[in-house]
């Protein structure tokens, strides 16, 4: 099936995000579900729609043949699936990820951090460096968008502005 209507594509990706959030809830990853619903289904969809308002809702017909991209996608997908063969079985309690630092978080975080939501203690305290990195990434994204697009309208109203910030 092929969709050239980008509006439909944006709405479908938003719905996909919302369903993913539902899957995360079923998997008891409520914090992740929260983020997915708010960012993936909410903000990202709105930003995509805002972009569509600028670029127009129709995808241009591609000039090249789809065979090469199809081959690249198929091979990459096959390699990725092949890579998952070595991963531990889903929800395996003996998986390495559950035997390294997780016991410390589960056993000690109530007395060390004293915060009932273990996800918060991991994100904000044990993994404080990573979260700081994430905040800096978000800040950098904002700086990048401001540097590329600016908040245009205010500059254009500026009579002393000289050349436009295009």
């Amino acid at each position: 099936m092929r969709i050239r209507d980008l509006f439909a594509v944006v709405m479908l990706s938003g719905i996909y995000s919302l369903i993913s959030a539902g899957i995360f809830v079923v998997l008891d990853a409520v914090d992740v579900a929260f983020t997915e619903a708010a960012v993936g289904a909410g903000i990202a969809t709105v930003l995509m729609l805002g972009t569509l308002a600028l670029t127009g809702p129709k995808e241009a017909a591609p000039k090249h043949r789809p065979l090469l991209p199809l081959a690249v996608v198929s091979i990459t997908g096959a390699v990725l699936i092949w890579g998952t063969m070595d991963m531990p079985r889903f929800a395996d309690p003996d998986a390495p990820i559950h035997r390294h630092v997780a016991p410390r978080y589960i056993l000690d975080s109530p007395t060390e951090i004293g915060v009932p939501n273990m996800v918060t203690s991991v994100l904000a305290s044990y993994r404080g460096y990573d979260t700081m990195g994430e905040v800096i990434v978000i800040f950098t994204a904002g700086v990048g968008v401001l540097a590329l697009l600016g908040v245009g309208r205010r500059r254009r109203k500026n009579p002393r502005g000289g050349p436009e910030n295009e």
Binding site: D31, I43, G128, T131, M132, L146, L149, V151
Partner: protein, 138 residues
Amino acid sequence: MNDQPVLKVVAKLLIPYILLFALYVQFHGDFGPGGGFQAGVIFAAGIILYALAFGLDQAFKLVSPAILRPLSAIGVLLYGGVGVATMLRGGNFLDYNVLAHDPVHGQHLGILLIELGVGITVTSVMITIFFAFVGRNA
């Protein structure tokens, strides 16, 4: 979207609860799901809903882009500042134990502060990006 009375009334009804919910997620993140990131995104979604319903000019009056730029840096600085404060008090970077006399209290204070920093940065960056995207159209 100037002649959408239903949309405006519904948005007016919803926005206070969205913002209140964002604050709840922000400050209740220690106890339930959520935290600074989710709270920031929800808060920004409330403002974005306002901008969608009432237009960008009104939204600029509500939240000026000139305020958002320093705010997005202040969040990062607050986060880093907590780390520097812990170093000044003799701990490692972002080791909240030294922030108060009791290590657990220090952890609570540190987590509260850095989550606040995350929330401030995420809110202002999300609104800034939205303004930048939609502002070009106008």
